[in-house]
């Protein structure tokens, strides 16, 4: 029994350096997630500011309409379809484009829509009296947003934001659709070589789980720090 497990382990991970599929895949997954998160935050922040500025002041009508269109399209279609369209249609003629770059774009663009709505709900959740207090002191709209509204909004949405990044990390597992060798694909390749599904897929699952647990821990620490003002 124990011998059998050991043989399987060796066959799945050691023979032909198969562990490298997992290790390289992990690096790719982390790369895609990291840059997609950055794009998602920047894009989401921008869209949220445009949308809530329009809601509060009626300015930026055209930009607001564009943002709404973006939100509707992105949230209304599956991320796999978006990934395929970006790879095979938008960059269809550019065969030498890096698959990592395409995945970063697709997942970042996708995540931006969800982050935007998270940020917007955060901005809206700050009491309007805060905005009035800022303006009455003489802060302009941008300063009020920066010094008074955003810090509170960010604190309010941190759990939802953290959740979005966990979703994003796991969502990158569909990168295999454009033959990008991410963590999931790496495990799957091993499976196709060894005809053993349990070991490689279990390893992949455990790695995702560990990453999520560590990330959640880090966010909890940050949340506790930010909460120091509500005793």
């Amino acid at each position: 029994m124990f011998q059998e497990l050991q043989d399987k382990f060796v066959n799945n991970f050691i023979t032909d350096d198969r562990w490298k599929y997992i290790a390289d895949g992990l690096v790719t997954t982390l790369q895609v997630t990291f840059f997609a998160v950055i794009i998602g935050i920047v894009l989401g922040f921008f869209v949220a500011v445009v949308r809530s500025t329009y809601d509060k002041t009626g300015k930026l009508r055209l930009l607001n309409a564009l943002c709404k269109l973006y939100l509707t399209v992105i949230r209304g279609t599956p991320v796999v379809v978006q990934l395929l369209i970006i790879y095979f249609v938008i960059f269809g003629s550019a065969r030498d484009i890096s698959k990592v770059a395409v995945a970063v774009m697709a997942f970042g663009f996708n995540s931006g829509a969800y982050v935007a709505e998270i940020f917007r709900s955060g901005i809206m959740s700050v009491d309007s009296g805060q905005f009035e207090a800022g303006r009455s002191l003489g802060f302009n709209y941008v300063q009020t947003m920066r010094y008074i509204i955003m810090p509170q909004a960010f604190k309010n949405v941190l759990p939802a934001l953290c959740n979005e990044f966990i979703v994003l990390l796991k969502e990158t597992s569909v990168s295999g659709y454009i033959a990008l060798q991410d963590l999931t694909k790496g495990g799957d390749i091993i499976r196709s070589r060894t005809y053993d599904a349990l070991m490689p897929l279990l390893a992949v699952a455990v790695i995702y789980l560990l990453m999520v647990i560590v990330f959640t821990k880090l966010v909890n620490i940050l949340e506790r720090r930010l909460r120091s003002s509500d005793h």
Partner: protein, 248 residues
Amino acid sequence: MTINRGDTLIKVQGLHKIFGELHALSGISEEIHKGEVVVIVGPSGSGKSTFLRSLNLLEEPSEGQVIFEGEDITDKKVDINKHRQKMGMVFQHFNLFPHKTILQNITLAPIKLLKRSKDDAEKRAMELLRLVGLEEKADAYPSQLSGGQKQRIAIVRSLAMDPEVMLFDEPTSALDPEMVGEVLELMKQLARDGMTMVVVTHEMGFAKEVATRVIFMDEGQIKEQGEPEEFFGNPKDERLKEFLSKIL
């Protein structure tokens, strides 16, 4: 009927405010002079808060002008933020910044807007905190304070900008009864020190004792005004008589 005390600080001309169907202000013209303590009373929905909030354009008038220190601040070309720095405002619900300490609440605007150094701003803030007896709360957060303390800090936060006029929007309405006194006491002290004040309140005692002028608003208009003695002792407007009989 207007009592002149020094120069005109705020002049309001033909002010209207319409919220959809509601005519909240219908044609108000009034002057606030330096050193005056003007108390505005009236039934709820009479437009008194809207009027007060129009003075620093938190409520943008639908029609009419607000002239502050000789400049028409309803003019779109005017930088309203510069003028608001000189018009302190105190709200019913305090609106302290919950993510900042008391000291940071007070020093944020002076540092960012008046470009004071952190040291100067903090020194001034501590002076003001001592004045209201809350210097030991400097490093506390708003959530650790009682309602009365929060409102006194909110007043201090406005004072830190060295305003020309202070606007109070029902400053004691959200307070537990035992905390009303401490806030009114601070406001009285400000009045004694010569601060120009416009106060929307239901505290008739404060109006009688401190106001240089009391204004009665109803249905978006100023129906009657005068010195407190005359205003409370010998009201003429029927609605005012009715209002006073209910409230006193």
